[in-house]
């Protein structure tokens, strides 16, 4: 997914002279071909994220479309004020390509694990937040970023994620993709939780439970219409995210439902990481499994929640 997104920057740069790549201190050879073909638009600016965001704002004020790239935690935590003031307040078309969203950098520990990035980015007015699920979707997404007004935060997965998106789904920023029709349950996913949801749906199907999947690649702006349609057609709404329970996809969905439905809320289950830093290493998969976000664990949580929903508990939360 990361290589695809990077290569797309090169491709977009070839098509449009406004496009810049700005890296802090990326891996050796990042976009080497672009650096040869467009050396003036391939900028490596050092481990100075606060400065890089401000500089990108200045470039965007002059009509450029900078794609800024570094590790997700450094692109969000380190320079939050610059993102808020320089990019969002001025509503400038800078694209933040965040490597290693969620637990991708599991072996590197909590300084490198972006577990609250969706929350803090989507809290900012004018910011758009996108979490593609695989490389193919990342390519379709990048095509749409060129002329989008305002800043975009792009949360990338690890790379090598199973390709589950389909070309016929297309990609439109802010438009969710219904991967499976609503059944007894609808799972709302973002990023690489889609792969887990698909596997969980198969497990549930084996138990006679029909599970729909709504892939919310854009967490902000949230596709309210698609969400409401899914809710009307199911008994249980489940959100899945590689993120702390505060402020991410589950929060966005719950807020939207409260605003739109008031008292007529569906039964809901939010599955997320716990509200704490991870002190285990291993792999993204092993940490997801440890925190109940493997396909098996998701399916089991949903089975339990369906039982509970029959006893009329209006909202459920499990981490």
């Amino acid at each position: 997914m990361r290589n695809t997104a990077m290569n797309m920057v090169h491709k977009l740069a070839a098509r449009d002279e406004r496009v810049l790549y700005i890296g802090s201190d990326p891996g050796a050879g990042t976009l080497r071909n672009m650096s040869k073909e467009f050396p003036k638009r391939h900028l490596i600016e050092g481990i100075s994220e606060a400065h890089i965001i401000g500089m990108s704002a200045g470039l965007a004020m002059e009509g450029f479309v900078p794609y800024v790239n570094t590790i997700a935690t450094f692109l969000t935590r380190r320079c939050y004020e610059q993102v808020a003031v320089d990019l969002c307040l001025h509503n400038l078309p800078v694209r933040l390509i965040a490597n290693g969203g969620g637990l991708v950098y599991a072996p590197l520990g909590p300084t490198h694990q972006a577990i609250e990035d969706i929350a803090i980015m989507r809290a900012l007015p004018n910011m758009t937040v996108i979490c593609p699920c695989d490389a193919d979707e990342a390519a379709r997404m990048m095509e749409q970023t060129l002329d989008w007004k305002g800043p975009i935060y792009i949360r990338l997965g690890k790379g090598g994620d199973a390709v589950v998106s389909k070309a016929e789904h297309g990609f439109e920023i802010g438009k969710a993709i219904l991967m499976r029709p609503p059944g007894d349950v609808v799972m709302v996913t973002t990023g690489i939780m889609l792969q887990r949801a698909l596997a969980a749906a198969d497990l549930l199907a084996a138990q006679g439970i029909r599970a729909g999947i709504l892939h919310m690649h854009t967490v902000k702006p949230l596709d309210t219409e698609a969400l409401l349609q899914a809710v009307r057609a199911t008994r249980l709404l489940v959100t899945l995210e590689e993120h702390v329970p505060s402020g991410g996809l589950g929060s966005a969905v719950a807020e939207t439902l409260i605003d739109k439905l008031g008292s007529g809320l569906p039964a809901m289950l939010r599955l997320s990481l716990p509200d704490r830093f991870m002190h285990n290493y291993g792999s993204q998969d092993s940490l997801l499994k440890k925190h109940g976000l493997s396909a098996n664990a998701i399916a089991t949580s949903i089975e339990h929640a369906l039982v509970a929903s029959r006893t009329a508990s209006p909202q459920l939360h499990s981490t």
């Binding site: 200045g58 004020e81 320089d86």
Partner: protein, 282 residues
């Protein structure tokens, strides 16, 4: 310790001409109307902004978005009263707007906002942002082969921020000789002396070692500022830092070098009388 500079001593003793007094009357009129404002930081800045807008910047108040205009960013956004006075005087917006400073429907807030105030290039107020934005603007000029120049006004307290030095390294890396940083070195930040809060010296050496061509000047000497600013860049291939030795609250004896006047709320009758004595009736 703050090194004694002849420019700093001159800043303390130099007198102000009628235009400088007039601009101070505009600033203090805004403070009187609003019952608030950053007085000290604006008064130290006035001659720097005056010379920029009167004599240096290639700008047209009737066409504030001209792509070839010089760019100026007030990175120390809390000094905005000085900027507002100049912009109003130069015709970017009516002088009457100054009376509405910080009012609910005013375009003039306590920090300048892009899109609200004609002539303001970037929203500032959070410190340590302007120089990086300026690097972006200056780099864009080079990439687009445009001749506009970028001037960024920084406070001395502001350069406590590490992001300023990140930006300085970036500006030097790109050899941005179309970028000028002006430092309002009044040596007094909100709490107290810069030398107490976080010592900056040797300040000129710092900028020099970060790859800038450095000049020092009495920041209240209009003629000297004009001479220095009309000769930028002094060194081809290097960004410029102009350390302007100034006096916080310059022109108002009660406020000069007095941290209590960093931000001022309602002015008392006796303070208003003292202002009239210092800068004339307003």
């Amino acid at each position: 310790m703050i090194q004694t500079s002849p420019h700093a001593e001159a800043a303390l003793t130099c007198t102000l001409d009628e235009r400088s007094l007039y601009l101070r009357r505009l600033v203090l009129g805004s403070v009187r109307s609003a019952g608030r404002g950053h007085v000290g930081p604006a008064l130290s800045l006035i001659e720097m902004v005056r010379v920029l807008y009167d004599d240096v910047l290639r700008i047209d108040p009737k066409n504030p978005r001209d792509p070839n205009r010089d760019r100026a960013i007030l990175s120390k956004g809390h000094g905005c009263l000085a900027l507002y006075a100049l912009l109003a005087d130069r015709g970017f917006f009516p002088l009457s707007e100054l009376d509405g400073f910080c009012g609910p429907d005013s375009i003039l807030g306590g920090h300048p906002e892009y899109g609200m105030v004609p002539g303001v290039e970037a929203s500032t107020g959070a410190l340590g942002h302007g120089l990086s934005i300026g690097v972006g603007l200056a780099l864009a000029a080079r990439m687009r082969e445009r001749s506009y120049r970028t001037f960024v006004l920084l406070g001395d307290g502001e350069i406590n921020e590490g992001s300023v030095w990140e930006a300085a390294m970036g500006a030097a890396k790109h050899g941005l000789d179309n970028l000028v940083a002006l430092i309002d070195y009044n040596k007094l930040q909100s709490y107290g002396p810069t030398d107490y809060v976080l010592p900056l010296e040797p300040l000129a050496d710092k900028w020099r070692s970060f790859g800038f061509a450095v000049q020092e000047v009495n920041g209240h000497d209009v003629g000297a500022l004009r001479t220095v600013l009309k000769q930028v860049p002094p060194v081809a291939g290097k960004p410029t830092a102009i350390i302007c030795h100034t006096v916080k609250g310059k022109g108002l004896p009660a406020a000069e070098s007095n941290a209590d006047w960093h931000h001022k709320n309602k002015l008392s009758d006796s303070e208003l009388d003292a202002i009239r004595v210092a800068v004339g009736d307003f």
